[in-house]
């Protein structure tokens, strides 16, 4: 056992936020090391440092390979040192062939420089494909491959550069069970050939089966490292969660009413044919209740509520509102049934950047502010001003452009849009993402205020303490299925995380 890589005392700051604090990890030759942790624990940041995406002068600490200090100021430097990265998002050239992708930037040349030696290129490509057990022609267009084939191709491509260290970030999120199995076999095979791997995954069952050592990160710090011999799954989860649930959030308990929404057997297809991002999910919700949907990134949380809202297509599933079956195929249907959706990314799908606050707030309430198609602008101003004041939006006036506001106030504007349309059921996807603490508390207050008025609320949040504190009841998704249902009384972070990582 020889140490081939050491990352020593890495500290990385983004402005005032410390993403990594004094993190040290080691990697030995022929081993597979797992990096696990919650969303935002710092795994990806650490790997970006290793890959040279963050240049050597942008952080503190050292990278030592085989006893030699390395300074990567560019991804090319890391590649030359023998580090290859496989990311969750596949980056291949869709309109090039398999062979061209494998040889990208390193095309073998004929004796006349500038002319490609296609014969040799194909030969090398076939070699790479065999290595990962991928049965496609070298001159097939990458666009025609399935997502899992693309994932294997990226690995094959990386292997052709003869790396010493292979880093895989959530490589199985696009793979089916069988393909995952193939990938694991390949990785074990690589290990026996002296290529070490760093394996990042949310799926602890895979991690436990595959890896030799597990390093747990939390809040940018290394919490613990386990070897296969002393591994205790429960301890790993405890380390991932770590914090004690404190009552940081002033939970307001409200009297719940009748059932507002019931969703039955929702199945939502994913972009990968034959795989569902949501599989047979059912849940229900009362007036005044706040239901938390948990799970790790990619578990299908957003897809579930987007499908219920009609924003993305479902394969099957029924929706009942106040006990009556309703058909919701597009957002217009959902809005007609007094639903609202605050999306994960307010810039992409929350507000209209070219419009002012008034126009943004009234966007879903044309019926209330118009008569026979003509806008009643006096009515519009009055009605939007009511929301503007109620939510305490900090802006000079309702005629201010929405882009001039802070993230928290922009989020309030998006909320105001749904409040103005008088929603009875509100879906909140990461309502406090990228918002400062003060504004967060204001958003919680708005949520509780709505619940008091009898609005049924579904909330998604990657911040577990926040979710646990705000919601009355929880469902936890993992790989598109509901893996756990908990009440506020029985839930713990450990329980939650077990369900989310599929080992409950």
């Amino acid at each position: 056992m020889k140490k081939i890589l050491e990352m020593k005392n890495i500290t990385k700051q983004f402005h005032s936020v410390t993403a990594l604090k004094d993190v040290s990890i080691d990697l030995y030759d022929d081993e597979i090391l797992a990096l696990v942790g919650e969303n935002g624990a710092g795994k990806s940041t650490l790997m970006r440092i290793l890959s040279g995406s963050y240049a050597a002068n942008s952080y503190d600490g050292q990278i030592i390979m085989n006893g030699k200090k390395q300074k990567f100021s560019h991804t090319k430097d890391a590649e030359n040192a023998g580090i290859e990265m496989i990311y969750q998002e596949i980056s291949l050239m869709n309109d090039m062939t398999v062979a061209e992708n494998i040889m990208l930037g390193r095309m073998p040349q004929k004796r006349i420089p500038g002319f490609v030696d296609w014969k040799k290129a194909r030969q090398i490509a076939v070699e790479a494909l065999e290595l990962v057990g991928l049965d496609v022609r070298p001159d097939e267009l990458v666009r025609r491959l399935s997502t899992s084939q693309m994932q294997l191709l990226s690995i094959g491509k990386a292997l052709m550069r003869k790396p010493k260290i292979l880093v895989l970030d959530e490589p199985t999120s696009a793979l089916t069970g069988k393909e995952t199995h193939t990938l694991m076999t390949i990785l074990r095979d690589l290990k026996s050939r002296g290529i070490s791997c760093i394996y990042i995954s949310h799926k602890l069952d895979e991690v436990f089966a595959l890896t030799d050592r597990i390093t747990v990160l939390r809040d940018g710090k290394v919490i613990n490292t386990y070897t296969k011999e002393n591994l205790q799954p429960d301890k790993v989860i405890e380390d991932m969660v770590g914090r004690k649930v404190e009552n940081m959030y002033p939970k307001v308990h409200v009297q719940m009413g009748e059932e507002a929404l019931r969703v039955e057997n929702f199945t939502v297809p994913s972009s990968i044919p034959g795989k569902n991002i949501i599989d047979e999910a059912s849940f229900s919700l009362k007036h005044g209740e706040i239901l938390g949907i948990g799970g790790l990134v990619g578990a299908g949380r957003s897809e579930l509520i987007n499908a219920v809202f009609g924003a993305i297509k479902k394969e099957k599933g029924e929706v009942f509102i106040d006990g009556k079956p309703v058909k919701i195929n597009k957002p217009t249907d959902a809005i007609a049934h007094k639903m609202g959706l605050l999306t994960e990314d307010r810039r992409a799908s929350g507000y209209v950047g070219t419009m002012n606050l008034r126009e943004n707030i009234s966007l879903a309430s044309f019926k209330e502010i118009s008569k026979r198609g003509f806008l009643n602008k006096i009515k519009e101003k009055k009605a939007t001003k009511v929301q503007f004041d109620a939510l305490n939006v900090r802006a000079p006036s309702i005629e201010t452009n929405v882009l001039n506001l802070s993230g928290g106030n922009q989020q309030k504007v998006v909320l105001a849009k749904w409040l103005m349309s008088d929603v009875h059921i509100l879906f909140l996807d990461e309502p406090t993402r990228g918002i400062d603490v003060g504004a967060k508390v204001e958003i919680y207050d708005i949520i509780f205020e709505l619940a008091k008025k009898g609005v049924a609320i579904v909330m998604i949040s990657s911040e577990l303490p926040e979710l646990l504190a705000v919601c009355d009841r929880f469902i936890v998704l993992a790989q598109g299925r509901i893996r756990g249902k908990f009440s506020r009384e029985e839930v713990t972070e450990e329980l939650f995380m077990k369900a989310a990582t599929n080992i409950l």
Binding site: P331, S349, V352, G353, T354, F366, G373, L375
Partner: protein
């Protein structure tokens, strides 16, 4: 009360006028007017001013709806060909002896059909609007040539020709050409629909952020189809007026006009990125384009240089617009 007005976003009248986007391009228009007028006093003559407005109206009638198309974040290259097609359809109907009103309806419907086709393909198949309307630009022009075999369609009846050639006489010697009146009426209707209706608001919202609009319950596909249909109809109206003006429907009528229309709308400050624009701006843009050409002719600048100047004017207008956007903090 005063404070309340302020809170509702009412600024003083002067500030509001100066804050309008159209002001930026009014300045070059005034400069061109003053310079032309100083050099050649005939420029300000009733005859010449009427002539400028007359020439501008054909572009502007199309530009009204092209403004909608741009605000939607789309593009319509087919308008020049549709202009020709509608003229030809109306012309053929007239020559076949159909009544004037029915021939005009046929012409407008032909334009609307091409527009609806554009809108349908764009909404249904999500193909870039540039490509879809490029195809229909060829298709519509091809149909023109096919129907006429390249020959002009004439003679057209006198009671039809009056639309493009006649004037609304306000006194013995003072009259306004009918196309100018049509352009004015259509422009006002277009402005009201854009600024005062939910439909207009939907167009702005879709152009500003399609996904937000969709998730807020705005009917994106339907709105897109309506706008494209209107675009075809507007091009049709302009084409019918053009045939009437010439007393003859030509298969090559309106060739290259799509670029004139686009230029006038851009000069008018409407963003090609969607979400912003105004009919008033497009009106000023159309008049500015004509005035530059007209003014240069009066200044005896070589005909061959006029396009150079138009190109420079477009760059300046867009430059001013970009500068204003940056200053107001609207990056996208």
């Amino acid at each position: 009360m005063k404070k309340n007005r302020k809170m509702l976003g009412k600024d003083s009248a002067i500030k509001r006028i100066l804050g309008k986007r159209e002001v930026g391009i009014l300045i070059p228009l005034i400069v061109v007017f003053v310079v032309s007028g100083l050099v050649n006093p005939l420029f300000f003559g009733y005859q010449n001013i009427t002539n400028i407005l007359f020439q501008s109206s054909f572009v502007f009638i199309i530009g009204i709806i092209t403004t909608y198309v741009f605000i939607l974040g789309c593009m319509d290259l087919s308008v020049g060909s549709v202009l020709g097609l509608s003229g030809v359809v109306t012309g053929l109907a007239l020559v076949a002896g159909l009544p004037v009103w029915l021939s005009i309806i046929f012409g407008i419907m032909a334009g609307g059909a091409v527009g609806l086709f554009n809108g349908f393909i764009i909404a249904k198949f999500n193909i870039p609007t540039l490509i879809v309307t490029l195809s229909t630009m060829y298709i519509a022009r091809g149909l023109c040539e096919f129907f006429t075999r390249g020959n002009p369609v004439y003679p057209l009846p006198a009671n039809f020709n009056i639309l493009g050639q006649g004037k609304l006489m306000l006194s013995e010697s003072f009259g306004i050409p009918w196309p100018v009146i049509f352009a004015l009426v259509l422009g006002i209707i277009g402005h009201i629909i854009l600024t005062q209706t939910t439909f207009g608001r939907a167009v702005f919202a879709i152009g500003g952020n399609k996904e937000t609009a969709r998730l807020s319950g705005i009917k994106v596909k339907r709105t897109t189809m309506i706008v494209y249909t209107l675009s075809g109809m507007a091009a049709g109206m302009s084409g019918i007026l053009m045939a009437s003006r010439l007393g003859s429907a030509l298969s090559n009528s309106g060739m290259g006009w799509e670029l004139n229309v686009i230029a006038s709308v851009i000069i008018g400050g409407t963003s090609m990125f969607g979400g912003a624009g105004s009919i008033l701006g497009s009106a000023i843009g159309a008049v500015l384009m004509t005035t530059v050409t007209n003014g240069m002719a009066m200044l005896k600048v070589s005909v061959y240089l006029q396009k150079v100047v138009i190109g420079v004017v477009i760059l300046i207008a867009v430059g001013i617009d970009q500068y204003n956007r940056k200053r107001s903090g609207m990056k996208e």
